[in-house]
């Protein structure tokens, strides 16, 4: 049993190391989820290789190792999405860094509106091909329209509020 978790841990470690090294050496504003998925596959391959080399070739054990890796990578992706884009986390960090005891909601809102965070999000969406920015105006690309359409449909089906 230890072999399953040990082998899976190797894969997760390989994934995390590659992730940190690549993100530090090649920083980017984009979330790079596809690259993260590729790193997960490399991590999983490492787990399988370690298990085959040091434990057994039992298909059921290999299935379990893959499953543990998939669970760990999906959990990390969930966590990473929040780390990379969370407005709430940005708010919390603002309070931590400014060492403020308290402030008015209006002052916070003015600060946020005056900052470029909203514009930064629009430009990131442009880099992802979802919107087109011309001058100071924004419009949807066909890809953005498709994503918006399917999100609305899925939101209705899953009864999710789409409130933002």
């Amino acid at each position: 049993m230890f072999g399953l978790w040990g082998s899976a841990a190797v894969g997760v470690t390989v994934f995390l190391l590659l992730h940190v090294i690549l993100w530090r050496v090649f920083p980017s504003d984009l979330p790079r989820i596809r690259l993260l998925a590729l790193l997960s596959l490399i991590g999983m391959a490492s787990s399988i290789a370690v298990h085959l080399r040091f434990h057994s070739r039992d298909p059921i054990e290999l299935y379990a190792v893959c499953a543990i890796d998939v669970f760990a990578m999906v959990l990390y992706t969930f966590f990473y999405a929040g780390l990379a884009r969370s407005v709430s986390l940005t708010l919390m960090i603002r309070f931590l860094q400014s060492r403020l005891d308290s402030t008015d909601l209006e002052i916070l809102a003015e600060e946020y509106a005056a900052s470029t965070r909203f514009e930064d999000r629009i430009y990131l969406m442009q880099e992802s091909g979802l919107v087109r920015v011309s001058g100071h105006s924004v419009s949807l690309t066909p890809r953005g329209k498709q994503l918006g359409f399917w999100s609305r449909a899925l939101g209705r089906w899953l009864q999710a509020g789409l409130e933002g």
Binding site: R24, I60, V87, L91, F118, H136, S151
Partner: protein
């Protein structure tokens, strides 16, 4: 070998069936209790997902005893099926979270609703069907308050709680480690 592969397929199918049942019950609960719909009743789903783990584990034990899957497969089959099931529940939660609170998705919906090109300032002020920036912040702060991360008293916001300090510090360190600069 065929028996082993069949066992893996059956265990995975069992995980998929339990997942669909859990999601189905969650959606039925949301449909019935409309007041819970906006938040998506996360605690209800977590409870259902936990029950799903138990049902799946017991179900796999029963399948082993009935001879549907290899009896001498050890805990590997159950561990594997449960991990895939848990991964899929996380995906469901993430999709729901993105749909209900996704910042970029909401911008897309706002643009679709207007049906034309919009100046960035107008998009900002009409974000979230008219909620605007104040609305985004107020919503996020309400959630942070309910999670015990920050003190909110009427229009006064802050300070962070002790838990909030720890989480903010961890988040800041990780953003610096991964050089994530242009964020939410």
């Amino acid at each position: 070998m065929l028996a082993v592969m069949t066992s893996i397929v059956i265990a995975s199918l069992a995980a998929a069936i339990v997942l669909l049942l859990v999601i189905g019950i969650h959606l039925a609960y949301l449909a019935i209790s409309r007041s819970a719909r906006v938040g998506g009743a996360p605690m209800t789903f977590l409870t259902l997902a936990g029950v799903g783990v138990a049902v799946l584990w017991v179900g796999l034990e029963w399948l082993m005893m009935s001879g549907w899957i290899e009896a001498n497969s050890g805990p590997g089959l159950s561990v594997g099926a449960v991990c895939f099931y848990l991964a899929a529940t996380i995906v469901y939660v993430e999709i729901r979270s993105l749909l209900s609170r996704g910042y970029s998705l909401r911008i897309l919906i706002d643009l679709m609703t207007h049906g034309k090109e919009l100046p960035i300032e107008d998009l900002k002020s009409s974000y979230g069907d008219g909620l605007g920036v104040v609305g985004i912040l107020a919503k996020r702060l309400e959630t942070l308050k309910s999670l015990g991360i920050i003190h909110v008293n009427g229009k006064k916001v802050g300070p962070l709680t002790r838990q909030g300090h720890l989480l903010a510090g961890l988040g800041l360190s990780l953003r610096r480690l991964l050089k994530l600069e242009t964020v939410g």
